[in-house]
Assembly symmetry: C2
Homo-oligomer: 436 residues x 2
């Protein structure tokens, strides 16, 4: 398969920010090592970044990454090696895991993601079988995929508060299902390791908690390498009690938009940025790029037409949006074949294992690209985030990708803090569960 | 740079042995994981393998690998990722390391190895400086290398029983010097982590101890996957009190040769192998492929001429050979452009990170290839040992390389056992050292 050329990515001179990150490499890697001794790293994670030339920031952190099939095949050995580290922590004494995917049977892109993930885990020495939550799958069902891979979906069996499939008793359950519709009964009160933990699912998770944790991480990192934390951190706030269809809670959103816009304006003046500030309004829980809009003035929120209101009102699986995140928009100045692009970075355990560009020909540089019509371009191997060339070319592409890998890992660390906090809150709120 | 094609490597049908290894992958990876919980994995290691078509075995295990420059550049991210794991164990709280190379200043191939190793460690987030044992280097000396890299050799400073260089106090010392001439005084009685440990150097290390440990590993592995251990293990014995120049100890060597030959003959009959058995006689300590010969009859040892005796009598830096290893020879049936080739597999921590072929146009399939005139062909990335294709092509090249990675890791495990044993023997024999 042809390796995509990097002439398509951002070509400008390396940012001062990127230079600072590259020059502080030993300090950064050491700091991250100490963090991973203090905090439990998520099993896997993908982070959407935006690089505006003056700013490089995460805008979304996915704890159930669904695009392993979009990684460059040349990255797969890195995935396998990182997976070996990840599974040592989870199943040191066993070698079987049950993978629970989203309830898709026809989305072959997603199923290729599951096949790739299964393959990575198998190559790390695990027996992996796929248990589906779909009630209509009552016997093992093989699905052939367009890329030549095959997966077998099997009905989940629950016995003694442990999940398995026929003749298979795994030591752990790996979720690639983001639990948008809540935690199904079959997953509740298990005496079995479940990763990511159930409270990482969208049934409970809030983006505002993630970005609050990211605020703390970004501040500490900015102090570490001596930069303005704004350069890596989009400002945000959140509003509750929203009902877009009924026009409830609009005032909170409108004033939040204006507050964030005025902060951005001051920062743009400080850094002599000529672009128009914008904010992104999106559901505080949920994924798949639904319920997202770009706004440049608080009053715009009162002028939404019925279709726009309906689009904002529901996310995946028809769930109503009641809380929204109002987040500073970050321009993406990257393009591939003249289409707007943003990098998505993949991590397993504490390692950056690859990434790809999300590309959209029909969207602008100030819009969400996670929308129908998007496509993916794998990052070529020479651009793996692990190997910047500090000596040779200060503005070479590998340098840029090292910076991307660092900012993605800051979001990973924020996710670790977020899950710790959620966990302690949930432990306090819920009755104690039976432990084995 | 062009990626070498694998059409040059062994092309025959996949061996029954290789098939068994690939099919047992989850069992093997799980077994290795349990081993690394019980034993301390060496920091880094390279293993020379020979693949005769009917047998796949390690013939040399190097604890101070000197060919990182020969790895395919596409493997480097794997090295960086593995290095991140390795250094977490050694310097969790620090980020500076002193690298001590061999005493070469003109061997640019070797210096490129040091530059590559330094680069890998820097990319894993370490500050690395190079301290040389050469007394003539009294100030920091920069050397430009043919591949565009640059290294700086600096005089070592010892203070408070810790080594460093000017304005640099590392938490640990990494040896890429095999201590063939003994342990220099400056390295003795340090209050500092030294890796590999001093007793891994050729001043004390014996190949016969390594292969005795490998015997135990190979037996357990063979039981695990149900194979004859001979298929992965060359038989050996050793002789002491040898002086080739003075014709001392020849009887021991001659009878050892005949004993090993007769064992091989029976095995060749059992497996219907038509080749002539041969043995390799080599120094029990030492490296650089010196003091090595191929023998097909015990009586040959009495017929050596003066030149041959002299070649066997000394190894690197003129050290006299007093102990020899008599080891079953393993044919290599791999060739690249009609030149005889053998794979060399590189590991950092417990991870296979790459490898290359050692190729020699002037040597036969039953001869040592580690000799002047050899050259190196990096393994292409699609052949990384981590990703066998169990489904698609049972005799594909990636499968063969997975088997290579497994057998190399068996030798790595043997090295771990060997160093544990040496360590306890040395602790018993030596006066207790001051510990910080």
């Amino acid at each position: 398969m042809p390796i995509p050329h990097l002439s398509t990515a951002l070509r400008g001179p390396i940012l001062d920010l990127e230079n600072r990150i590259i020059n502080a490499m030993p300090t950064i890697e050491h700091w991250l090592r100490t963090k991973w001794r203090e905090h439990t790293v998520p099993f896997y994670c993908s982070v959407d970044l935006r690089n505006s030339g003056f700013k490089l920031a995460p805008v979304d952190t996915n704890l159930f990454p669904g695009g392993f099939n979009n990684l460059n095949p040349e990255f797969i050995p890195l995935c396998v090696q990182a997976m070996m580290s990840a599974i040592e922590k989870i199943c040191p004494d066993a070698h079987s895991i049950l993978l629970i995917p989203e309830n898709h049977t026809r989305n072959t892109f997603y199923l290729q993601n599951i096949a790739t993930l299964q393959s990575i885990m198998q190559h790390a020495g695990l027996n992996v079988r796929i248990g589906t939550l779909l009630p209509e799958v009552t016997i093992a069902t093989q699905i052939d995929l367009p890329d030549g891979q095959t997966i077998t979906l099997e009905p989940i069996i629950r016995k003694n508060n442990q999940l398995g499939v026929s003749n298979f008793e795994p030591c752990a359950v790996l979720l690639n299902n983001d639990l948008s519709t809540g935690v199904p009964e079959i997953l509740q009160n298990l005496n079995q390791i479940v990763i990511p933990p159930l409270h990482a699912g969208w049934a409970t998770r809030r983006k505002s908690n993630h970005f609050a944790a990211y605020d703390r991480v970004a501040q500490e990192f900015a102090d570490l390498i001596g930069i303005d934390p704004w350069l890596i951190n989009p400002r945000f706030t959140s509003c509750g009690e929203i009902n877009f269809r009924e026009k409830q809670g609009e005032d909170c959103v409108a004033s939040a938009i204006d507050r964030i816009l005025s902060i951005i304006k001051r920062k743009y003046q400080q850094y002599d940025v000529k672009e128009d500030p914008f904010v992104i309004v999106k559901a505080d829980s949920g994924t798949y790029g639904m319920g997202i809009m770009t706004v440049k003035d608080g009053s715009d929120i009162y002028k939404l037409n019925r279709k726009q209101r309906n689009k904002m009102a529901v996310v995946k699986e028809g769930l109503l949006v009641s809380n929204v995140l109002v987040q500073e928009g970050v321009y993406t100045f990257e393009s591939i074949n003249e289409a707007v692009a943003e990098p998505v970075i993949y991590m397993i355990d504490r390692f950056v294992v690859g990434g790809f560009y999300r590309v959209h020909t029909g969207r602008g540089i100030d819009e969400n690209l996670n929308a129908p019509g998007m496509y993916f371009v794998p990052l070529a191997f020479e651009t793996t985030c692990l190997v910047p060339k500090s000596a040779a070319q200060p503005n070479s592409i590998p340098n840029r990708f090292y910076a991307y890998g660092v900012v993605a890992r800051l979001a990973l660390l924020a996710a670790a803090l977020e899950l710790e906090q959620d966990h302690s809150e949930m432990s306090a709120a819920l009755p104690a569960q039976t432990q084995k």
